[in-house]
Amino acid sequence: MYVMEIKLGQLEDVSDVYNYYGKRPESGIQQREGKKAPTPRADKARQLYLEAKSSVSVEFPYWYTRRWEELEGEVPIIRRAEALKSGFAHLTPAILPGELLVMRKANYLRGSYPMPWLSEAFLLSKEDDLFKTAHKASADDITTIGQGGGNVTASVGNVISIAGKFGLRKEEIPILIKTAKRWLNRSVEDIGHKYEQLVPGYGTKEEIMRAVICMFDSGYTLPQGREVLNYYYPLQFGINGIKEICSKNLNNVAGRPGMDRLYFYKAVHTMLEGLQTWIKNYSEEARLMASLEKDETQKAEYHEIAERLDWLSENKPGTFHEALQLVWIFHVAVLNEDAISGLSPGRLGQVLYPFWKQDMAKGILTKEKTIELLECMRIKFTELDCFASMGVVGGVLSGNTFNNLCLGGLDKEGNSAANELEMLILESAMSCDTPQPTLSLLFDEKLPEEFLLKGVECTKIGTGYPAWINNRVAMEFLLNNFRKEGMESEEARAWAIGGCLETSPGSWMPLELNGEIYNIPGGSAPASSVGVHFISLPKVLEAVLFDGLDKRTGRRVYPAHGSELTTYEEVWTVFKHYFSMTVEVLTLTNNIQHDIWGKVSPSIINSMLKPDCLETGRDISHKGSRYNRTFNVEVCGGVNLVNSLASIKKNVFDQKSISMDELKTALKSNFGYLSALETGSYSLTEQFKTDEYNYWLRIHKLCLDAPKYGNDDKYADNIFREWQQWVSKMCENYRSMYDEPLYSCQISVSTHAPMGAVTLATPDGRLCGTAFADGSVSAYPGSDRHGPYALFNSATCYNHALSQNSQLNMKIHPSVVMGREGSRKFLEMIKAYLRKGGFHAQFNIVDSRMLRDAQINPSNYRGLMVRVAGFTQYWVELGKQIQDEVISRTEYEQLG
C-alpha cells in the first residue's frame, strides 16, 4: 500500500489479510515487556534532561576567534591550537547536583555552540532574521514552543530560536553575529568554495546541489565524525604523559626535514594545556559548590569530583570511575573541536574492562555501583547536541549525534570479546533507556549465547538498540579496503561502528594497568564517512527520464543526453552516466573542501588520540592515522530506484503496457494526485486526489503492481543486485584527497524524507514529495508482501561486504517475540539473517497503533523511542513525515 487514499481504507485489512492468523491486541496498547527502572540518581538526571532545552552559547567561539585574531601570521596549526586552548580555558563550568561524571560541551545542560571557523554563511544569512526576532521578541510576546521535546522550535521571551532547534539568549546575538563576521571569507566553507570552483564542471555541481540530488558538503558542515574514537593515549599515559611524549618527539624533529611534525607536536602540547585549564576550572567549580552545599553526602561527592578531576588533569586513571571520567573528558574535547556527528566511543566495555575487573577484584566496586555509573554515562551522552544548520540537523540527522557504543565482536586472538562489563552496559541501557549512546552488537558465531540473549532482551524493550551487526562481513569489507595499508585479519578484528552504521577500522593498543597488559580496541582512522554525501538515486533517475532536467524547478542539471530511451539498457546506461558525472564532480569539490579544512582548521585533539599521529607527527588530514582509505560515496533511495527500474523494464519495455511518454506524463501529473509541492503535505499518509485521478488509475496500478524489491522476486532482485555490484565497483574509479579509492556506503540516515520531498512521482508508483524507502535493504513501506523470509532473501541477493554497510530496519509487534521462547526464536531469526550474509538488522518492537496515538498525544509519549534509519530517537523529536514513514512500515505480527 503506497498512499493513504488507498491506504487508510486498507491498512487494517492489509495486516489482517496477510497476517490473519495473527492476533492484534483487542483494544488498548500492548506494552513492551522487560521494562526496568533506572537508579534514582539517573532518574533524576533524566528528568532534568527531558526538561532542558537545546541551548547555544557563544563563549567558546568568542574566545576562539579572539585568540585566532591575535595570532595573525602564525603557523596555522599553532594558531588553531592556541585558539582551541583559549576556548577551553574560558568555558564556564556547569556541574549539576547528583552528577557522578562531570563536564559538558558548554555552560548549559544541553549546550553547544556554532563554529564559524567552519561555516559562517548560515549564521550571517540569518543575521537579519535573528536581529528582527531579537528585536521583536519580548516577555509579552511569548510564542509557544511547538511539539519537539527539547527543541527550541520557536523564539520565546528572551530566547531566540536558531535552525528550529537551538535557543540563544537575545543579548548574545550581537556577539554571535560579530564573531561570525570575522570569519567571512576565512572559514573553511568560504575558502573551500573559492577553490572548488576551479574544478572543471563545477557548474554541474552547483546544479546538483540546487536540485538536492546531493544533500550536503561534508568538508565544512561535519568534517569529522562517523568514526570511532580511541582513548588509549590518555588512559595509558595521562595528560602529562602525552605532553612528555610531545616534548620528547619535538626535540627529535626540531630543525630536521619534515618540519610540519615540529608544529604538530607543539600544537598538541599547547592544546593539552588548554584542556588542563578546562579540567581544573571544573574542579574549582566543584569545590565552590561543595562550600555552598548543606547536604553532607552531596558535599562529599563534590569534593570527590574535585579530587578526581585534579588527578586526571595530569595523571593516568587508576580506577574504573576515573577511567570513565577521562574517557568522557576526551570525548567532549573532540566534539568541541569541530562540528561532529557520529563520534562513537566504540567498544567502550572492552576499553574499560581492565579497570573494572581490577576494581571488582579489589572489592572497591560493585555491579550496582557500575550500573549507576553507566546510567549516568548514558545521560551524559544523551545531553550532547551538535550545532549545525537546519538542513544538516533536521534533514540529515534528525538531531541525532550517533554516539554508537559497540559490544561483542572478537578479541585480538580471535575469540569472543564479550565481557561481564558489556552485560552491565546492556543492563543499564535497559534500565535507563535514553537515545545515546546507541548500541550495536557485533555478532559473531563465537559469542556466548547468554550474551546474545541479553542483547535480545534489550532489543525487546523497544528502544531499537542494539542494532545487530555482522562481524565477519565487516572484517571482509575492512580487509578488502585496508589491506593495502597493512591491515591483517588480527587488526581487522579491532573494528567498530563509527556513527550510525559506518564500518570503521581499529587497532589493538597495549594498555598497561598495575603490571598487566591488556590489548584494547580503538579507532585508528579519521572520519570514515566523508566525501560524496547522499546522492538521491530516484532524483538522478528523474533527470534521466527528463533529459537532464530537474523537473521540479525546470533547471538543467546535467547536459542533455539526447537518448530516445527506446530500450531498458539505454535507460540504465544513461543512469550510470549521470550518476558517474555526479560522483566525479562531487569527489573533486569535496577533496578541495577537505584539503582546505586540513590546511586552515586541522584536527588536533582527535589527531592526538588516533594511532599513529603521535608517532608520525602528522595530523589526521595529513595521513597521520594508521588507515586512511576513508572517503566514500553515500546514496539514498536505492530501493525506489530499483523498483522504478523494474517498473520501467516491465511496463514500458517487456509488456509495453505503458509508453515512455505516457509514463513521463503520469509522473508529471503525479498519477492524478495533488502534488505535495503544492499542498505542502509530504506525508505518506496524507495525499489528495485531483479530478484526473481516475484517468491515471490504470497506469498507477501498473506501476504499483510492477515487481518490487523485498518479495524474493528475481525480476526486481536481479536489478537490485546489478545496481549493488555496479556501484561498489564504480566508486573505486574515484580517488580521495589521500589518493585512495572511494568505497560505497549505503545509509540514508534521515535524508530519505527531505530528498523524497523534492522528487517527482517515481515509476514505482511512489507519489511526488513523499519519502523514499529508508535504509538500503529495507523494503518500501507496505511493498513487501511475502513476509520477512522473502525480504531476507531479497536483501541478501548480493554480497554485503561490497559496501561499508547495508541497513535493514524492521518493525516487529511485541507479540512475535513475547516470553522466553519468544526471545530464543527472535535470536534464531536474527542469527539466520546474519548467517545468510546480512550486514545489519534493527528492530522496532512497537505496536503501530501506539505510534499513531503518540502522534496525536505527543505529551504522553515524551520518552517513547523509535528507530528511524539507523538510530534511536525520541518519537516527539522526529518530524511528522518520518513518523508517518515509520508507521507505514510493514508490521510483522503474529499469533499472541
Partner: protein
C-alpha cells in the same frame, strides 16, 4: 537451489504462506494454510479458508466506484449501487481466473487463495528454511489440511525426506485412512477438540464429533510423534466446569498429559466483512484472564499440563 516445476507433482489450493510463525510447533516456522474445511465453526478466524478453492474478498472502504470490474464478469454477478460494488454471491462462482480482481484499480476486490504446485511450495520451504534457525519447520493448517490429501501427503513426504520438521493442525474430522497415509511423514500433530458432547458439537461446528474422538484415541495409540490436543476456548460454548471435566476425562482416556488452550479472539472479524458473510462469533466476549486462570488450574489440578495461547513451552 532452484527446482524445475515438472508438472507431474500435485497442485493444491492454499490461501497463505506465513513465515516467522512462532506458536505452531518448535522454533520459527513457515505456516501453510490449505483451503477447504469439513466443519463450519461459528467462531472461525479464517473464514476464507472454508471454501475448497479461492474466495473473492471485497473492501468497500477501498472501492472508488469506478465500475471497471463490471464489464468483464462472465457471470454478470457485479453491479454498482450507490458508488459501491455489489456482488451477487449466488451468481459469483469465485471463478478460476476472475477478471474483476485483475481489473480492480485499488485492490478493493481481490482473491484470497491460489493454486500452487508441490514443487513451487517446496522451493519456498527451502528458502524459508535458511531463516528458521536451529529448530523450526513447516506446519500445515487451514482450513483442514488433510482435505487435500494428495497434495498434503506429497508436501509432507517431500519435507520428511528433506529432513524438514513437519507439523499439521487438524480438526480431526476426516477418515482414519487419510491419517494413516500421512502420519509416517509427520513429526507433530496439533489436534483440535471443540466439544466432548456430540449435540453441542454439532451446534457449534455444523458437524458431529464421533469421528473426531475416534481419531483422537487412535492417534494417541498409533502416532509416535508429538501429539498436542488444543481446546479453542469459546465462552458459553465449551468453557463450563463440567465440560472441562469431560475434556479431562477424555484426555486421560487417551493417555495424554497436556492441553493447549486457544482462547477465542475476534481478529478474523474483518475478513467476514470482506467476504460479505455474517460473523456469529461477535456476540460472545473473549474469555477473561480470570476465567483462563481458573480453567488452567482445573486442568493442572486434574494432573494435566496446560498452556494458554502464546505461552508455548516449545
Amino acid at each position: 537451489m532452484n527446482l524445475v516445476d515438472d508438472n507431474t507433482c500435485s497442485k493444491g489450493h492454499i490461501f497463505d504462506i506465513q513465515g516467522l510463525s512462532v506458536h505452531d510447533g518448535p522454533g520459527c516456522r513457515t505456516l501453510i494454510f490449505l483451503c477447504g474445511c469439513t466443519m463450519n465453526c461459528f467462531w472461525c478466524s479464517n473464514p476464507e479458508g472454508i471454501n475448497p478453492k479461492h474466495s473473492i474478498m471485497y473492501s468497500e472502504a477501498s472501492c472508488i466506484g469506478c465500475g471497471n470490474c463490471l464489464s468483464n464478469c462472465a457471470k454478470n454477478a457485479l453491479s454498482l449501487e450507490g458508488g459501491k460494488v455489489k456482488i451477487a454471491r449466488q451468481l459469483c462462482r469465485d471463478c478460476e481466473h476472475p477478471t474483476c480482481t485483475a481489473d480492480c484499480y485499488t485492490n478493493a476486490l481481490r482473491i484470497s487463495g491460489f493454486e500452487i504446485s508441490v514443487d513451487k511450495l517446496y522451493q519456498i520451504i527451502q528458502r524459508d528454511r535458511q531463516y528458521w534457525g536451529r529448530e523450526g519447520g513447516i506446519t500445515l493448517t487451514g482450513g483442514e489440511p488433510l482435505l487435500q490429501l494428495n497434495f498434503a501427503r506429497e508436501i509432507l513426504q517431500r519435507c520428511h525426506q528433506g529432513y524438514v520438521h513437519t507439523a499439521i493442525e487438524t480438526c480431526g474430522n476426516i477418515l482414519w485412512e487419510n491419517f494413516l497415509e500421512v502420519i509416517p511423514f509427520i513429526d507433530w500433530i496439533f489436534f483440535d477438540l471443540k466439544h466432548p458432547d456430540n449435540t453441542e458439537h454439532k451446534k457449534g461446528t455444523n458437524s458431529e464429533n464421533r469421528l473426531i474422538l475416534e481419531n483422537a484415541i487412535r492417534l494417541s495409540k498409533e502416532f509416535h510423534g508429538r501429539l498436542i490436543f488444543r481446546l479453542p476456548l469459546i465462552p458459553d460454548f465449551n468453557d463450563s466446569e463440567e465440560n472441562i471435566n469431560s475434556v479431562v476425562s477424555f484426555l486421560k482416556k487417551a493417555g495424554r498429559k497436556e492441553i493447549n488452550i486457544l482462547p477465542l479472539h475476534h481478529f478474523g472479524k474483518e475478513k467476514y466483512t470482506l467476504l460479505q458473510k455474517e460473523y456469529h462469533g461477535s456476540r460472545i466476549s473473549v474469555p477473561t484472564d480470570e476465567k483462563l486462570k481458573n480453567i488452567r488450574e482445573q486442568f493442572i489440578n486434574s494432573g494435566l499440563d496446560c498452556f494458554i495461547g502464546s505461552e508455548t513451552p516449545f
